[in-house]
């Protein structure tokens, strides 16, 4: 039983990293949103499994929040935003797919090396979880860096936050209040960013952040 518990937790956390990789190479916005929704579903499954094995009912609430907000509400509203902005046909990558994937692999290796070494005495399950969480976090950051479109940067930010929740769920004894407040802060960040997207769009007729730079008079 012990082995199975560990394996399933490992599987779910590993899939989260895998889905992060999938997000890295989506160059169409709708497809990116779909993968992001899938990312959130995997996260909520992983958190729910943690709730089961840690026997911590409040983690079910976390899983539910993740499912409702991140897998349903946010992707749907981003869908609507993209439709209203009319940018669903835009294709973008600043850095090519291959270098991005290679960099992502390097980051995963780095986080494994750092985390496994830093937590040598910890519970093996928590160790793996933390290593995967750091990978997801770094991949989200990588995505924010390599994208140019504001919507995909928002998605990158949300997936980064998924990594944080994974880490929080893995650490035993995380109070519910913290998770709820994190969830709300993400929601508020989402609302603020959404409003800003429209404002930017109104002013500049695009959500390509490069245009903003040009407007500030920066030389490229």
């Amino acid at each position: 039983m012990e082995g199975l518990v560990f394996d399933i937790a490992h599987l779910l956390a590993g899939s989260l990293v895998l889905v992060s990789f999938m997000m890295l190479y989506q160059d169409r916005l709708y497809a990116l949103l779909n993968v992001f929704a899938f990312h959130a579903v995997v996260l909520s499954l992983s958190v729910a499994w943690q709730a089961y094995i840690q026997d911590a009912p409040h983690l079910y609430v976390t899983a539910l929040i993740a499912l409702i907000f991140k897998a349903i509400i946010i992707p749907l509203s981003l869908h609507r935003i993209i439709a209203r902005l009319g940018i669903h046909r835009e294709i973008e990558t600043v850095v090519g797919v291959v270098p991005t994937m290679l960099a992502g692999m390097g980051l995963v290796a780095l986080s494994l090396v750092v985390m496994l070494r830093a937590t040598a005495e910890a519970d093996p399950l928590a160790r793996e979880d933390l290593a995967f969480a750091l990978s997801v976090l770094l991949l989200g950051l990588l995505m924010m860096v390599t994208r140019r479109n504001a919507v995909s940067q928002v998605v990158g930010f949300m997936s980064l936050e998924n990594g944080l929740i994974l880490a929080a769920a893995g650490a035993k004894g995380m109070p519910l209040v913290v998770e709820i407040s994190v969830a709300f802060s993400v929601l508020i960040a989402f609302i603020v960013i959404g409003i800003f997207l429209f404002r930017i769009r109104e002013r500049f007729d695009t959500v390509d952040v490069q245009t903003l730079d040009r407007f500030r008079g920066e030389k490229r």
């Binding site: 780095l110 986080s111 070494r117 860096v145 940067q153 952040v209």
Partner: protein, 671 residues
């Protein structure tokens, strides 16, 4: 109520005087009220400290207030060392307050000075009573900031803003060094109370590091070369009574910090500490006075002379460290007494001289000596008191400066008993430097006094000067009297210092009060002794006799006016000896190397009737080689890092990302 309660009450009252001055901003009597309050409070504090020093100094008083660090509280302590420095500080502060009663009336913007003056005094008092690192650093920084505000009181005057800037940069640097020193002393357990630091044993390398940090921290505040650069800029920029406080008193607080840490908290010294302190002190003494000789600005000369005196004091402290490291407690007590005596003296005569400079400034509006002259006829009282200050600071008997410098040299003579060859060679060399510095100081003050007060007025404004008000003259008179008293009765001062040396180096100088005829005998009757009263009587008698003889013989003799008059009396006052011409020989001897002094004579071509001109250019080598490259480096880096303010969003994200990844890589490679 014990003494420490009373002292803390005085400090609290001083702190309350500042806001009171703000509240009474528009009331015309605010100046008088504020300085009157600080005068009474500082006299009270000085009396308490003196009572403690001459009474029961051996048992320290402590008190813990529920302020500061939550788990520690604010610890205060009154022992012999703090009592002595409290006495010095409050004596100087009381004189400055008395002077301020008169001088403050000429202040155009009193609301820029009045609220901060008592705060500055309170800060200095608190530093000497603090008994934990947090309290100490907080009071230290409070003192620095209050004095910085006072330096910036006349911020629209040329160069004052720059002086304030250099000052605050150096003050922050010094506090940082002290912060690191205390961090090292507290150790990993965080024993920030001084009691814990005293108990702990410090590894030799750690103690050496702390010594260097303290030299940087306290030394930059005191004005040790090469960290003195701010001092001659900032001290003259403040109003004169504040200049007196900064030069005469605040530098002493820095010395207190040095003594407290090296002698009290750091444990047994190593012998080479003495060498380091001695060399820095000797170089500082000579450099300070050489700089002073090149200046024409009254207050700036006094500020550079402060650097020289600080060097003298540090030589005494270095000797005390060297003797203490070799278990020569008696000699260490002599050296420490000499240093502390000089601390006391310097507070007296430097405050007096700054008051005199302030009086000249009030009377003429000039600080440049080349525009003064002949003031002894217009301001006789001020001239007399400044003369006393000049004689005292030039270390001439029968005034106090002679006694402390004589004691320092006596301690140097004892250095032959030291076992280390490094010290045996270094100490006499330092003694030579001190002798040079003392002589040059005398030349410097002959120049200052002669050009400013003697001769004939060089400008109309100097010719119309009037002596200053009664308060200012009273402050100068009292200090001059104290200089004389400490000079002719040095035994009482030395006995007063006995508990301090007993506490710091575990020995005291032989009791002087019981020596017949009020002589002082530092080591033994057979080696050397000095009797201030005898010298005083002799000097008074012989000079009176000389005056009588000259008047008898010269005044009534037939005088004939010379035909050619040597070209002097009726020509322009510009033909007199000037400050520049007085300094020229010394500039040629020392300045060519030290200041890269260059003289150029511009001769008009033949047939041209325009005057020839002599151009002298001086450069500050320390500023050019140490400060300017550092400032340029900072400007260069700042100029290039400025681009970081204007990155695109993605580059900011990238910056965060790459710094995070590189930190993680470091972590991965490290473990």
């Amino acid at each position: 109520m014990s003494d420490i309660h009373a002292l803390l009450l005085c400090v609290a009252a001083l702190l309350a005087t500042g806001p009171l001055a703000v509240a009474l901003n528009r009331w015309p009597g605010a100046t008088r009220l504020c300085y009157g309050a600080t005068l009474l409070l500082t006299i009270a504090a000085a009396a308490i400290a003196a009572g403690r020093l001459f009474g029961d100094a051996a048992t320290p008083l402590t008190i813990t207030l529920p302020l500061g660090l939550p788990w520690l509280g604010a610890l205060f302590r009154l022992d012999a060392l703090s009592a002595f420095f409290l006495l010095v500080i409050n004596l100087g502060a009381a004189a400055a307050s008395l002077y301020g009663l008169g001088y403050g009336r000429h202040e155009h913007t009193p609301h820029r000075v009045l609220p901060f003056f008592p705060a500055f005094l309170a800060g200095m008092n608190l530093v000497t009573m603090a008994d934990d690192a947090f309290c100490f650093l907080l009071s230290w920084e409070f003192m620095s900031l209050a004095s910085w505000v006072l330096v910036m009181a006349h911020h629209r005057v040329d160069d004052n803003a720059r002086a304030g800037y250099v000052y605050i940069v150096m003050a922050s640097f010094g506090t940082m060094a002290l912060l690191l020193a205390f961090g090292l002393l507290a150790g990993p357990e965080g024993g920030y109370a001084f009691a814990a630091m005293r108990e702990a044993t410090h590894a030799p390398w750690l103690a050496a590091l702390v010594l260097i940090l303290v030299l940087l921290g306290a030394g930059s505040k005191a004005g040790l070369a090469p960290l003195h650069a701010w001092l001659p800029l900032a001290h003259p920029a403040a109003p004169s009574h504040v200049s007196a406080l900064m030069s005469g008193v605040m530098t002493k607080v820095a010395i207190y910090g040095f003594i407290r840490i090296t002698f009290d908290l750091l444990g047994t010294p190593a012998w080479w500490w003495g060498v380091v302190v001695l060399i820095i002190g000797g170089v500082t003494a000579v450099l300070g006075v050489l700089y002073a000789l090149m200046q024409n600005d009254l207050k700036r000369i006094l500020a550079y002379s402060t650097i020289e005196n600080i060097g003298f004091i540090f030589v005494g402290l270095g000797l005390a460290l060297a003797f203490a490291a070799n278990n020569m407690a008696g000699a260490a007590a002599l050296a420490l007494t000499a240093a502390l005596f000089h601390v006391f003296n310097h507070t007296l005569f430097k405050s007096l001289l700054f008051f005199g400079a302030g009086a000249v400034l009030t009377a003429t509006g000039e600080r440049d000596m080349e525009k003064l002259g002949g003031l002894i006829h217009r301001m006789p009282m001020t001239a007399l008191f400044v003369l006393v200050g000049c004689v005292a600071i030039s270390a001439l008997p029968p005034f106090n400066g002679f006694v402390s410098e004589w004691l320092t040299l006596q301690a140097i003579l004892l250095s032959l008993g030291l076992p280390q060859w490094g010290l045996k060679i270094a100490v006499p060399a330092i003694g030579g430097l001190l002798a040079l510095a003392a002589t040059l100081a005398a030349a410097c003050f002959v120049r200052l006094y002669g050009i400013t007060f003697l001769g004939r007025p060089r400008t109309a404004i100097a010719a119309e000067a009037r002596d200053v008000d009664l308060w200012s003259r009273a402050a100068m008179g009292i200090l001059a009297l104290l200089c004389l008293l400490a000079g002719i009765l040095p035994g009482f001062v030395i006995d007063g210092l006995a508990p301090v040396t007993q506490y710091m180096v575990g020995a005291r100088m032989p009791a002087q009060a019981s020596v017949p005829w009020l002589s002082i005998v530092p080591i033994a009757e057979s080696r050397s002794s000095y009797n201030g009263i005898l010298v005083f009587i002799f000097i008074t008698f012989s000079s009176l006799l000389a005056v009588a003889v000259i008047h008898r013989l010269a005044s009534r003799a037939v005088r004939r006016a010379p035909a050619w008059d040597c070209g002097f009396p009726d020509a322009s006052p510009a033909l007199q000896y000037t400050a520049g011409s007085f300094g020229q020989p010394l500039r040629r001897v020392f300045g060519t190397m030290m200041f890269r002094a260059r003289e150029e004579v511009e001769m008009p071509p033949p047939g041209d009737t325009s005057p020839a001109r002599l151009q002298v250019s001086l450069r500050d080598v320390i500023w050019d080689t140490l400060y300017a490259p550092l400032a340029n480096l900072v400007l260069f880096l700042a100029g290039h890092l400025n681009r970081l303010q204007f990155l695109t969003i993605r580059r900011y994200l990238g910056l965060v990302f790459f710094s995070l990844v590189s930190l993680l890589v470091v972590l991965a490679l490290w473990s």
